[in-house]
Amino acid sequence: MIVGEQKPLAEIMELLGDARKVLVAGCGTCVTVCFAGGEKEVGILASELRMKSKLDGHPMEVDEVTVQRQCEWEYIDPLGEQLDEYDVVLSLACGIGVQAMNERFPDAITLPGLNTTFLGLPEEQGVWEERCQACGDCILGLTAGICPIARCSKQLLNGPCGGSQNGVCEIDPDVPCAWQLIWDRAVKLGRVDQLMEIQSPKDWSRSRDGGPRKIVREDLRLEDLE
């Protein structure tokens, strides 16, 4: 899932500037699951904004709404009618949701209340870790099911650098060395031979380096059915 983290209140206040009427808009999918931008977090942030703006002497009127998915037109379209009332929409969705709102409602200003941090999973309650960089050319079949693009600090494809020790990465003792994990699992699976093959330079054109990406599925396009 997409994992996000709320921006500090001070930064949000600065973003909001002199807005007097604000709609805090949550999203019911990924950011709800990671406790960053669901209905509950919308409620808490809205209260904080009301209190902080009142203490600052310029009370804001803050309303709340949470839609199932801010990244799909059908879920955000119903918001359209009420947006005229607000100076600003503060979205607690990921960056996709924020852009969807700006794209669908060009006359309203939608600002980000979250930092979209990574594609990952909850490792345990309260701990999320990155697992995928959406590189567009999955190599998990070659690396014992552990991604060195997302999890090796140097995105190495041919084994660990010299900075791996006692299972952790040189950048931080809290970061496991991806290549230690890959090696250990390959040993267990009896697939060490796979790691001995030289992996060629990666085709980064399928990642962000090739420009913004787009998928067109002709088999699914509605106009093709007509």
């Binding site: 600090s153 140097k154 995105q155 190495l156 494809l157 041919n158 084994g159 660990p160 650098c161 010299g162 900075g163 791996s164 020790q165 006692n166 299972g167 952790v168 990465c169 040189e170 950048i171 931080d172 060395c177 290549w179 230690q180 090696w183 250990d184 040993v187 060490v192 790691l195 001995m196 030289i198 992996q199 060629s200 330079p201 990666k202 980064w204």
Partner: protein, 350 residues
């Protein structure tokens, strides 16, 4: 048959001449690059390389001074590439200055700061300027350096870099497959190996991948655990890797007991046996803390002594073709170490 310019250490103009006359096939007399380091290793001499850290400024005197200290004491000198991710004078530019002092450079090239276009462009330029040795590295992570908020590259990894440099030299092609027009850059290709990193069992195989990718020589991480290095080399020799690439053991003089302790406890990918920390502590026994100069002198003498002993011990290990002496910011130490280890004068190979 060696040409005139290959008989002595290269000077700037010699190297330019050599670059113009070509360095593929017969022009290098059967050598891959014709570098002094390649010739010394190929002739079976126990080779010695040193290390030179460029300045965090633009003063050429810094390089020229250090190069004078190292010239004649080593067969070639590594010039670091933004080591520890701190911005310094470029390795290639520093190499040009080193050549002026009669010192042959080993250009270090990391994958951290350049993508495949930038690396290949720099390799063409480095060759044109007389560089003949190249060390292919991943690079220290940028979080350690003085620009921790920088975007890192890692378009290639070190194994892929080795292969690219080899293909440029042997097949005359860029990484994309296009032909190089005219002269190919023909480097003697090096890489690093860390016998002390984890997973320990993977390390010889990682080295094997570098050999398969086309590396000519290897310099190891600093060795302060000879038994573990010996274990690593046994595996390397079993796999026959020492016959395909020249393995140079990395050593370096300790400067103080604090440095020994720091490397033992804090530097990822390093193992320092307690005996070295203890010997450095013993070196200053009885010298009061206030007598800083006396402590420094005692530490440095012991550091050099230990390094010499290590070289003598490592030299006996099967498969070791030379030593790489890392005395960064202590370039003065190189000559007494090489001399103390009985490795002077350095051989000249025609």
């Amino acid at each position: 048959m060696a040409t005139a310019e290959e008989k002595s250490l290269p000077t700037g103009s010699d190297c330019l001449q050599s670059a113009r006359s070509g360095s593929n096939g017969s022009e290098t007399n059967g050598y891959k690059s014709g570098s002094n380091l390649e010739k010394v290793l190929s002739a079976g001499h126990f080779a010695v390389t040193g290390e030179l850290g460029p300045p965090q400024g633009a003063d050429p005197e810094h390089i020229l001074h250090k190069a004078k200290l190292l010239a004649g004491a080593v067969d070639a000198v590594n010039i670091t590439d933004n080591q520890t991710a701190v911005v310094r004078m470029s390795s290639i530019a520093s190499g040009v200055l080193a050549i002026r002092e009669g010192l042959e450079p080993v250009v270090q090239m990391t994958c951290r700061d350049r993508n495949r276009l930038a690396i290949q462009a720099d390799l063409l330029g480095a060759y044109a300027l007389g560089m003949r040795n190249l060390l292919c590295l991943t690079g220290d992570h940028n979080v350690f350096g003085n620009h921790p908020t920088a975007k890192n590259v890692h378009d290639l990894d070190s194994v892929q870099l080795i292969r690219m440099v080899k293909d440029m030299r042997d097949d005359g092609v860029f990484q994309c497959g296009d032909d190089i027009k005219g002269l190919y850059p023909s480097f003697f290709i090096g890489a690093a190996s860390n016998p002390f990193g984890d997973p320990f069992e993977f390390r010889p195989y990682r080295l094997a991948k570098k050999v398969a990718a086309g590396v000519d020589f290897i310099q190891t991480q600093l060795i302060y655990d000879i038994p573990r290095f010996r274990e690593f080399m046994e595996k390397v020799v079993d796999m026959g890797l020492h016959e395909k690439a020249h393995i140079m053991a990395g050593v370096g003089p300790l400067k103080s007991s604090g440095m020994a302790r720091y490397m033992r406890d804090r530097v990822p990918g390093m193992i320092v046996r307690d005996e070295y920390v203890d010997r450095m502590l013993a070196a200053i026994a009885g010298i009061p803390k206030e007598e800083r100069a006396a402590r420094r002198k005692a530490w440095r003498e012991t550091g050099i002594k230990i390094c010499i002993e290590q070289i003598q011990e490592i030299r006996e290990i099967e498969g070791v073709a030379g030593v790489h002496i890392m005395a960064v910011e202590w370039e003065e130490a190189a000559r007494p170490i090489v001399e103390g280890a009985g490795l002077l004068p350095r051989p000249t190979v025609d």
